[in-house]
Amino acid sequence: MSRRAWILVAPLLGALLAGLGWAGFTPIQVSSREALFEIPKGTYARRRAGDLVEILPGTIRLTLGVKDVLLIHNLDEVPQTFGPTIMMPGQSFRLPFERAASYQFICTAHASGQLTIEVEPEPVTPWARIHWRARQWWENHKK
């Protein structure tokens, strides 16, 4: 590589390495460990009318130590069964997870009646942190 090209590439390479160093070694900080989902008003009525549009994702992905608390608000006018409990209209259910695993729950807000929650281990190695941050960045930019 010529000296001129190297002068152009070196700062970019330096920034990339500094970024990787930061992404791999900085503990992941989030403003809240809760992943919030809402069952909107009229969900039950829509289901009864034959509308099968999914209101909540079929699979919710959580990460221990980062986003490991599921928070569901029932804004519908009728009780909704979510996982281990029934939620009255206007009620919220806050469910923390402490073990990485795949959980299958009953959920009346889903057309299938089923919800999967994938709880992943805490990203503690540099590579896991880089991977987690890259995926978050990608998912935020997909929206």
Binding site: A15, A18, Y103
Partner: protein, 200 residues
């Protein structure tokens, strides 16, 4: 020092240096439940059943105690024995405070579970455990109010077993449905949450 190596290492070290300066993450406060919690807290749906001790079985009867309410059946070979053994272990770990904790177990098998059968079954785990039995309509009302699902599976020989919701409902001293522990949590998680409920 190798100059080429330094060119690569310095930016990486700079990034690591910035990372080291980041504040440490705080642990969650100790008063957060291990179970799922409901908010706002609403009264636990009332039960109009008969107890395995021959007295009426209702939420109101247990007012002043913390109640662990679950649903199951005495012929259950998998989930119920584990749940009941876990709850018995949690009560033992609580020591004297266990006197303020009532385990209430409602049958999902009214055809086979009589009061005497439930008393015998529950007593093998802890003599203080109380069973709730009743007619099918009485029990169906309880299942509906607590969101309990029961699926009957008939075997080739004509016998049957039941799949059922296996969460444990945690009801405070005032009769409020505060929390729901999914199946599979260890006794220590119950002890943790019961201590919060007992002092509140």
């Amino acid at each position: 020092m190798n100059v080429k190596l330094a060119r690569f290492a310095l930016p990486l070290l700079l990034g690591i240096g910035v990372a080291a300066a980041a504040p440490p993450r705080l642990s969650p406060p100790d008063d957060l439940f291990k179970a799922g919690t409901l908010s706002p807290v609403m009264p636990a749906p009332e039960l109009a059943l008969s107890g395995s001790d021959g007295k009426p079985f209702s939420i109101a009867r247990f007012r002043g105690k913390v109640v662990l309410l679950a649903f199951g059946f005495s012929n259950c070979g998998e989930v119920c024995p584990i749940t009941l053994a876990t709850l018995a272990a949690a009560r033992k770990k609580l020591g004297a405070d266990a006197a303020d904790v009532q385990v209430a177990y409602v049958t999902v098998d009214p055809e086979r579970d009589t009061a005497a059968q439930m008393k015998k079954f529950l007593g093998s785990f802890d003599p203080t455990f109380l069973g709730g039995v009743g007619t099918r309509p009485q029990l169906e009302a309880a299942y509906r109010d607590y969101g309990i699902s029961v699926n009957k599976v008939t075997n080739a020989d004509g016998s049957y077993t039941l799949g059922h919701s296996s969460s444990i409902y945690m009801i405070d001293r005032a009769g409020g449905l505060r929390a729901v522990m999914p199946y599979g949590h260890p006794a220590d998680d119950f002890v943790h949450d019961l201590k919060i409920l007992l002092r509140s």
